[in-house]
Amino acid sequence: MRTKALLKGDIGFQFKYGFYFLYLVFSVLYIGILFALPFEWREKAALLMVLTDPAAMGLYFMGAIILLEKSEKVLNSIAISPVKSREYVLSKLLSISIISTAVGLAIGIAGGVVSNLLYFSIGVFLASCLFSAVGLIIAANVSTLNAFIIATIPASLLINVPAIAYLFGFKKNWLILHPGVSMIELCSSGQNAIFAFLVLVFWTVLLAALSSRVVGKMLQAVGGVKL
């Protein structure tokens, strides 16, 4: 129930902040670019776009969201409310992954890359949760936007570079153990899609649990309790 209320609030704010409008504009732009590309490039380009933008939007926006909540003292209110850190994290991850999955699907369908709707949706959804969890972990430990942006660069490279290498032909099976690569394998319904799904679930749950712990500490700190 609490998670539902948090989720409703987060979605409302994200709508107000213009996320839905922004991604409507970018979806049109990305789809336009896809159609301007030669047909044989579209599949790879669509997957690359989904991985680096809608799926990664949590990593881009989480810093600003958390820092704004800190400065507006929203976190102080949450800290003294019965809301648990895992509910707070769940709401943040789910609210962002709704936009990511919708935009990812729009780009994927336009790019003709969606051969299995379920696999593709789950792949984008989990990857989005994973990126958002990483964003949350970083955001909880910084105090300015510039510091957040700098801190996301290595995280972004670590997740994206192996995935891009895999997408463009460096197809080693062991690479599927990497979260970004498992997303690519799952979204493109590759031979190891089921294994990729399990790997992606593992990484997402692990990072979500870690972010919940970090957020718990952050809420304790703003709530005035430092044990």
């Binding site: 704010f13 922004l22 810093g63 969201i65 704004l68 400065s71 300015t144 936007l145 510039n146 510091a147």
Partner: protein, 245 residues
Amino acid sequence: MRQDMKPSMKPLLRSFGMFIRQISKDSMLIVVCIAPILAAFFFHFGIPIIEGLLCEFFRKTTVLTPYNLLFDLFLSILTPYMFCFASAMLMLTEYDEGMTSYLAVTPIGKKGYILSRLLTPAVISFFASSLLLLYFALTTWAFMMIIMVCLLTSLTSIAVALLVFSISHNRVEGMAMAKLSGLMMLGLPVPFFLLSNVQYIFAFLPSFWIAKLGMEQNVLYFIPALLTSLTWLWILYRKFERKLT
């Protein structure tokens, strides 16, 4: 009021010092300084290598070479864009924390705030991007053309930062605007890929005219480029003033 019309130098320098201290504390300063140099090295030495590999792979004589000028144009905008982006992020933080209103009523004033946060970084990056273009360009540039293009890219970058700051109400909206403002750069590749008159749909973007100026090497294109930049700046500065009222 008089001080807001004409801010004196000392508060401006102090305010600029605050900006530099803040972004150096975040490590953003080092990134803003190093990233354009790395990009310049990559464009200058990496692109020809990639071109060789692509030509071999696609069995063509040229793949990227027709777009060398586009790489140069990106290089010319990278330094001011990064510097002004870092400044916009700091301005968003300062606004959310209520610092901007305080600074605006000190001898710095609204104009001084913009001068120290955007104009000074843009002036510094104008010199930096001119040097980068002079030494790392992939195509041949006349000295005057470098000056004109770097002046325009610096003005455009100020407009982008003002767009991010003036339109948004808080830093989350600011980040959304920052993403959207990337579209201001869309004008750079347009004349390279849209060869018909349809390209003039993008005539409201300064970046479109900057690309035309670079492509045609015709000084006349400097006029619409400057006019569109100044129009954007004028509109956005008014928005900025209203935001701080």
